[in-house]
């Protein structure tokens, strides 16, 4: 042993044996050292040091450099990362060291003329049996809540334990030690001197600085202070303050650069998630999600029959299991993920037992949700509806009143039409919105159990959530269980397994739109106030349930059922070896994301759109992603140089198995597709999901603790590409300068000022074999004698030359900490250039393939913007008030398209893709006004010559009627206007006072524009569309044109969508059709909004009260989600657009430890 230690020490130059000695038996170390000691007085080395706010570690390095001595010490003895200012000139070594250690009494022992062992003044016992005493106690936070997971260590000793869920600890320490150190992330370190008492209780204060916080990065961890990439962190505690079903929805507004927008108010629905904007045109742009090292599937695999909204696979994750989430944004952070990093990376770390903690915590959340408006807030009542129609009828030259049967005749299924008189219809005023929606409840119960032991620990969690949708029978149910087990079976080797078992059941409601469709939210606008809902005389109890206009019928499980059961495990295991080579660790991980989804859809014979024919469908999808990775990390100090390297390899392979069956005319006790008379679909297929193989490396180099360099590289191979293009290399370089560490930087108020920058590449792997290989298929075309079962379909031709889509990312940032880090934050500017975008282009039809498409690397696009985040502790007294604010700006421009889109671009129905414009720029005719003389809506005429020759949409200056023909032929590029916000962010205020805590989260977004479709179907048409097919919004009343000279918002009321003018505005007896003017700016509205996303007031019971209940850490809260929205957008919801709005939720909860 002696030889080993000596040899080990000798190999080191001026590197201090920190971790090594910490792990060694102190007694053995002392014996070794003592045998070598010589007198310090003989030493005549002189030392000159002039540093400001340098770490003790750095100062020691400097002394070492000047004296030639190496130092050996126990890290428990010296706070090597604590910062000191020191100015000594030509002093002795011991004086310099004494100054460095702040006058602390320490013994210095020399050996071999080049080593100094630093130890506590009190001589260590030379006996192997040290006298020990037992210290017990309890650690709480400032609110009196027990803190679990606090590391309690005897100062100067390797002995350490962790507090349990009650905050309690028990530690044996050497009699000679009289200081105990308490540490936990997020709180200030505490050192307490032990007196005569063996019971030490303490209250930890929250840290105002997170610079020393360890942050998870790809394949490892780093101190936040040393990170030069753009990484934002969201804690599990923050997430759980917003108790919604989908984890990603909880993150909204909490991280700069991360845009999350809810697409629908259905429980568990998939929000749009973008990191630094859209960075692809045809491929997916969603970030890569990695949970504990396992890349996971985040889409949906549910059956979406009749427009049923699926739930996101992310909503299967229990938010209470989350320890923290890191959002990696720039290339310096994401390049190590190479081909998968272009959309950014979201690293999720789940909770695990850190050792020593034991206990059980329980939580309950519940609440009620409702739509923020009622039927009468949006739609006119039946009486008004008929009055408006009669007026329109008269305006169009018809006499008499509108007959409901003329509308019924057109709108209802031919075989199933009601009949009613005008009097009967006028007497009905149905609340269709009320029938479709409900006040919905949710309940969530969670339990987490910890048990620590000597070499590891176990964590088990259980969560059950039951949530009703605000659409009736749109229910969500989730049960998750998680098992985490870490241990060290042999010395220096640790292993662990993390197993998530998840079950989710979702009941969907059809959303289809239109006559004869299944009904649902999208059909709401066609549910006229005089359509009945219930009919006691009908077999179903509903009034014409299969019309598509009966809201209750369309969600009644007795008539329509859409259900999905999802089973999932996200599991991983690891082995880590802390090798004998100091600083070298090797880790191997295996993970799997396995998800089974069984969906079924059934429509009753009474509900089917094909009259008297029941329908059913089944879909089963098994998705699997297996991930293997292994990597080694090596960390070493060489004088003023610090190197941290990571080298590894990773293999990812996915697989999908899809089985689908559909049929009609099913009659049985269990109608879901048993014995259909007509089986319309029966298919099974196995998709070859991408196979990725990668090798990666990363080097972090730091000099003098202030100059940081980072280089990362990854080479990935992807099975979808041809062999010659299969592999690509992604690199990134970054640099950082801790300006505040420089001696010339003289400010007591600035704790941290770090300038950082990076540049690098990432790729996009959302590609598949059909893009690169010739596609053969069979069609059902037949020709000839006895029919063959199919015919050959050739193409589209894959492009073997297809290469990676590459994102080059430049990032410049400034991180700062002020006033003892009471204010901290960062500012960053980024610029992304996406090159070789994989665009689906058309090839000449003469190529002769079934589809004349070809994927090509032809597009270029840019994203750029600013990100700003700041956290402050505004008040830190009896009242503690902290604020977190972030705002992100994002701009986007398409800079290159394929040769056929270079001029006019790609003209979609309502958007255009064109060089020089934002992606998804609106492409709509310019509505100008309602002509005051005629009441006809007018648009600008487009200069066709300019468009055809210069590809510019400019007005001729002439106004023409906004009829269907003109609207489609005079679309203008709405430069700078798209549905993607140009700024977004969040503001969180947390206030604590005694036992109360208040959390207020505001989220905002703006700069985007949305079409207000409810208006399109009612009064947004060029002509007022009162031909009886839509409900009418209340905004129309009093705002439409009546007489010449009127300046009106809405045009003159006419029937049948026609005004008596031709395309040029000249009188025309036949008139022209104004029915479909969704393609004009009439409906386009700015959609800026600020939302009171979350409001939560909590109260923590005093420990004395909790103890009486035999509980600890008892907290209850009341709160609300989406309680208030400030917006100028007049549609349903500026976030979800025309989809189901986000509900207002009032919630409450209780949590405690057993």
């Amino acid at each position: 042993m002696y030889k080993k230690i000596t040899a080990f020490i000798c190999r080191r130059k001026r590197l201090y044996s920190l971790k090594f000695l910490m792990k060694m038996n102190l007694v053995m170390m002392a014996l070794t050292v003592l045998s070598l000691q010589i007198a310090i007085a003989a030493n005549a080395q002189r030392v000159t040091i002039d540093v400001k706010k340098a770490t003790v570690r750095d100062v020691l390095l400097k002394i070492s450099k000047q004296t030639g001595y190496d130092f050996i010490y126990d890290p428990g003895l010296i706070r090597e990362n604590s910062r000191i200012t020191m100015n000594v000139d030509q002093v002795s070594l011991e004086e310099a060291l004494t100054t460095c250690f702040g006058g602390k009494s320490l013994d210095l022992m020399y050996k071999d003329d080049r080593m100094v062992v630093i130890k506590a003044r009190k001589q260590l016992s030379t006996s192997a049996t040290i006298q020990q005493r037992e210290i017990t106690g309890r650690v709480t936070n400032e609110q009196g809540q027990p803190l679990s997971g606090v590391t309690v260590r005897a100062k100067g000793s390797a002995e350490a334990v962790v507090t349990d869920d009650e905050g309690s600890y028990r530690i044996l320490i050497p009699q000679a030690i009289n200081v105990i150190v308490f540490t936990i992330v997020g709180f200030e370190l505490q050192e307490l001197t032990i007196g005569t008492s063996n019971v030490i209780n303490t209250v930890m204060e929250e840290s105002v600085s997170d610079l020393e916080e360890v942050v998870v990065v790809g394949y490892g961890t780093m101190k936040r202070r040393d990170i030069i990439g753009s990484v934002a962190t969201v804690t599990g505690a923050d997430i759980n303050k917003v108790p919604v079903a989908n984890l990603s929805q909880s993150m909204q507004g909490m991280a700069s650069g991360l845009f999350i927008s809810n697409s629908s108010g259905h429980p568990g629905s998939s929000p749009d998630i973008l990191i630094r904007g859209l960075n692809s045109i045809n491929l997916g742009t969603s970030p890569l999600w990695v949970i504990d090292g396992v890349p996971i599937y985040t889409g949906s695999s549910q059956l979406e029959a009749n427009g049923v909204k699926p739930v996101s696979a992310i909503s299967m994750i229990n938010p209470a299991d989350i320890e923290s989430i890191e959002v990696l944004k720039d290339a310096a952070a994401t390049a190590v993920y190479g081909s998968r990093g272009s959309g950014g990376v979201i690293l999720v770390t789940t909770k695990s037992n850190k050792g020593g903690a034991s206990g059980v915590s329980v939580n309950y959340d519940g609440g009620v949700s409702a739509l923020p408006f009622k039927q009468e807030d949006i739609w006119v009542d039946s009486k008004t509806w008929w009055e408006l129609h009669d007026e329109a009828y008269a305006n169009s030259g018809f006499s008499g009143q509108v007959d409901p049967n003329t509308i019924i005749q057109v709108q209802f299924l031919d075989v199933n039409k009601p009949s009613m008189t005008r009097e009967e219809a006028s007497a009905i005023n149905s609340d269709h919105l009320g029938a479709l929606t409900q006040t919905a409840k949710f309940n969530q119960f969670g339990l987490t159990a910890n048990k620590g032991f000597e070499t590891g620990g176990v964590l088990f969690s259980l969560n059950y959530r039951n949530e009703e949708g605000i659409l009736r029978n749109n229910d969500f149910e989730r049960l998750t269980g998680r098992f985490n087990f870490n241990f060290s079976p042999i010395e220096q080797v640790s292993m662990g397994i993390n197993m998530n078992l998840q079950y989710l059941k979702n009941k969907g409601v059809p959303q289809s739109h239109g006559k004869g469709a299944a009904g649902g939210w999208s059909n709401l606008i066609t549910m006229l106030p005089w359509y009945l809902i219930e009919d006691e005389t009908s077999q179903s109890g509903y009034w014409f349930p299969n019309s598509g206009y009966n809201a209750m019928a369309s969600s009644d499980p007795a008539l329509v059922r859409n259900e999905s059961d999802m089973y999932r495990t996200i599991s991983n295991a690891f082995v880590e070896w802390n090798t004998p080579v100091d600083g070298l660790r090797v880790r191997g991980e295996v993970g799997v994301d396995l998800m089974l989804t069984n969906s079924s859809s059934w429509t009753s014979i009474l509900m089917s759109t094909t009259p008297y024919q029941s329908e059913a469908a089944e879909l089963a999808i098994t998705k699997r992603t297996v991930n293997l990775n292994g990597y080694a990390t090596y960390e070493r100090d060489l004088g003023n140089h610090h190197i941290h390297t990571t080298v590894g390899a990773e293999a990812i392979k996915g697989h999908d198995y899809v089985r689908r069956a559909e049929g009609t005319q099913i009659y049985s006790n269990y109608p879901e597709l048993i014995n259909p008379m007509n089986r319309t679909v029966a298919s099974g297929r196995s998709n070859y999901a991408p196979a990725i193989l990668g090798v990666f490396g990363r080097v972090n180099y730091k000099y003098n603790d202030r100059y940081i360099l980072n280089f990362s590289i990854r080479q990935d191979g992807h099975g979808a590409f041809s062999e010659e293009n299969r592999w690509a290399t992604f690199t990134a370089v970054g640099a950082g300068w801790l300006l505040s560490e420089e001696s010339f930087f003289d400010s007591q108020d600035i704790d941290l000022l770090k300038i950082r920058g990076s540049y690098g590449q990432t790729g996009n792997t959302n590609v598949n074999q059909t893009m690169t290989q010739m596609n053969w298929d069979l069609t059902r075309d037949q020709y000839g004698g006895d029919f063959l079962p199919g015919s050959t379909s050739l193409g589209p031709m894959g492009n073997r030359g297809l290469r990676w889509e590459t994102t080059s990312n430049m990032d410049v940032g400034l991180d700062f900490g002020l006033f003892n880090s009471r204010i901290s934050g960062s500012v960053a500017y980024y610029r992304q250039r996406m090159t070789n975008l994989i665009l689906k282009g058309n090839v000449p039809w003469s190529t002769g393939f079934g589809i004349n498409e070809l994927w090509e690397n032809v597009g270029d696009m840019e994203n750029w913007g600013w990100e700003f985040s700041v956290s402050s502790v505004n008040v830190a007294k009896a009242v503690r008030w902290s604020t977190d604010f972030n705002i992100s700006l994002n701009e986007n421009k398409v800079t290159g398209l394929n040769e056929f889109e270079k001029g006019k671009g790609y003209e979609g129905t309502q958007t255009i893709r064109k060089e020089g414009e934002r992606l998804n720029t609106w492409y709509l005719s310019n509505f100008v006004h309602v002509d005051p003389q005629t009441g006809i809506p007018m648009i600008e005429q487009r200069d066709e010559e300019k468009w055809n020759n210069d590809y510019m949409t400019v007005s001729t200056g002439r106004l023409i009627p906004m009829n269907e023909s003109n609207t489609n032929a005079n679309k203008m590029i709405q430069s700078g206007k798209s549905d993607l916000p140009t700024f977004y962010g969040g503001l969180t205020n947390t206030i604590r006072y005694k036992a109360f805590d208040l959390n207020i989260l505001l989220t905002f977004a703006g700069g985007h524009y949305l079409l207000n479709l409810p208006n399109e179907n009612t009064n947004g048409q060029g002509s007022y569309r009162t031909n009886g097919i839509s409900a009418i919004t209340t905004d129309l009343v009093g705002n439409y044109w009546k007489n010449p000279g009127d300046i009106a918002k809405y045009p003159k009321l006419v029937y049948d969508d026609k005004y008596p003018v031709d395309n040029d505005g000249n009188p025309s007896e036949a008139g022209t059709n104004f029915s479909r003017n969704i393609n004009s700016t009439f409906l386009l509205e700015k959609a800026d909004y600020i939302k009171l996303r979350n409001l939560q007031l909590g109260y923590t019971f005093p420990a004395s009260v909790a103890n009486r209940m035999k509980l600890q850490n008892v907290r209850m809260y009341v709160g609300g989600i989406n309680l208030l929205t400030l917006t100028g957008y007049s549609g349903y919801d500026p976030e979800t657009g025309n989809q189901l709005p986000l509900p207002r939720t009032v919630n409450f909860g209780l949590s405690f430890n057993l």
Binding site: V575, G588, A649, L778, D781, G784, G785, G801, S846
Partner: protein, 546 residues
Amino acid sequence: MKMKKIILLIALTVFFSSCKDYFDNPRPQEIQWVNTTTFDQGLTSAYFNLFYKCLNGRTTFMEFASSGTSQLLPETSTGVPWNEAYNRLFNQNVSLNNDVWQYAYKTITTCNAAIALDESANANPFNLEMNSADYEDNYLRQIGEYHFLRAYAFYTLVRIFAAPYVHNGDNSQQYIPFTTQVPETKEDIYSIPLGTNAELYEQIVSDLRRAKAMLPEAFNASTMLPNYAIGRANQYAAAALLAKVLFVMGDYTAAEQELDFVIQAAENDARYALEEPIEAFNKLDRNVISREAILEFHSGIEGNYPYQGEYMYYAMIFSLNFRDATGGGRGLGNMVKSGWNQFTVSYWALDKMGWMTDPANDDYTLTAAAENDLRCKQLYYYLLGYKAGITDSDPDYLIYESVLAHKAVHTPQLYIDKYFRGGQGNELSRFTKFPLIRLGDLYLIRAWVRWNGGNTEGAVTDLNKIWNRANPTNPDYYTASTINHDVIFAEYLKEMAGEGWTLDFMMATQMDIPAGDRRNVAAVQPPYANWHWAIPVSETDLNPNY
């Protein structure tokens, strides 16, 4: 302990190094053509695309409307490009031509793929016994069919989009892309050149000769795949199409050889025959093939497959009966007049045919010659001008034009009535036959070729074959002294109007293409250099060669 850790490290290393064939797809796509049965699926696709998706009556409509043999009914307007076709607005993009272009090239690419497979595998990609029936009666036949279909598709394209072949002249003009390879890369696509007319016609002739050599005489149920039983090309179809192409190219001698080959088979081997004119169009059973049809489009009529009801859709634009006519489309209760019909036989053509008394001077009565001609009686229909208020059960329905869309038709008209002449019609089964090449056509071409070559006697014989079939009570009408181009052309019009080939006859014989009844259109003289339609914009926008 150390050993354990080393083993652990090795295990991890092995774990990651065992990734051999990592990127291989465990379920790679099977090459579809693995035997003659699946190879026939390629033919199904090629036939389906060419005959149903490409032709579909479109080319017949365009030919009839532009040829001068048709009359545009006044004040009618359907969704077809009637104005462009009728008034020969060649520079206009004609929407119907988009499908012609697209599906002809799909056919060509499928054929190119099959022929390339054959060539790359030494004519035996499925490792068949070379002397087996499967190889000889199926595989070789299939390769022959691929050549035939490629030729037919290219010929369809040059007829529409390229200037007519210049007899003994310069055919170096380039109009359409030409390749016999399947592109595999983007560079391949953009290196496909435009072919000269000479190259294209040379390829067409070459393919047809190859097809003729490889195709069997007829279907053999004992050795051939049943799919070949109907609607498919045999060596006579290849020879007949080759004859028609050579005729258009002005190579009359070679054309006559191919015509002789087919007609001899008809006359000596009784393989084909001239039956009553209606017999080529009125079969109720898909398995019953007219003896006159050398090649017919098979409009599948049985089974439960979704695409079985193919038919020549655009025939409803230029013929009397609608697709749901019943009982052969004649008589009350059976006749269903097409409300989409916009074209009838032009008065100019009727005058040439001798079937209308004096339409130029408003005498629209049919002549005795017309009344006695079985073709006129069986394949055309005479209606007086529009009479309002007639229902389809009114006897006047059979006498007067009564379709509301035709209310401006005030003068009597002779309608093409060759299509939808089968039995019961409905969505799934439109019983009718669509001959693509028939014997009567070949007799008339040979009559002209013989006449042109000085074989007057032979020409008279051929012409009288056609005459006698239509006028059995007045046989052998033509003699050596009365035969000439005009009478042969008149017989051609009577026989072939509305079947898509009259322009070919005019161009092959280098006669002027008449203006017909149009007032603002002039006759077009050889070499008809401007007679080609605009290349679809969907192609010119994407093809750098344009």
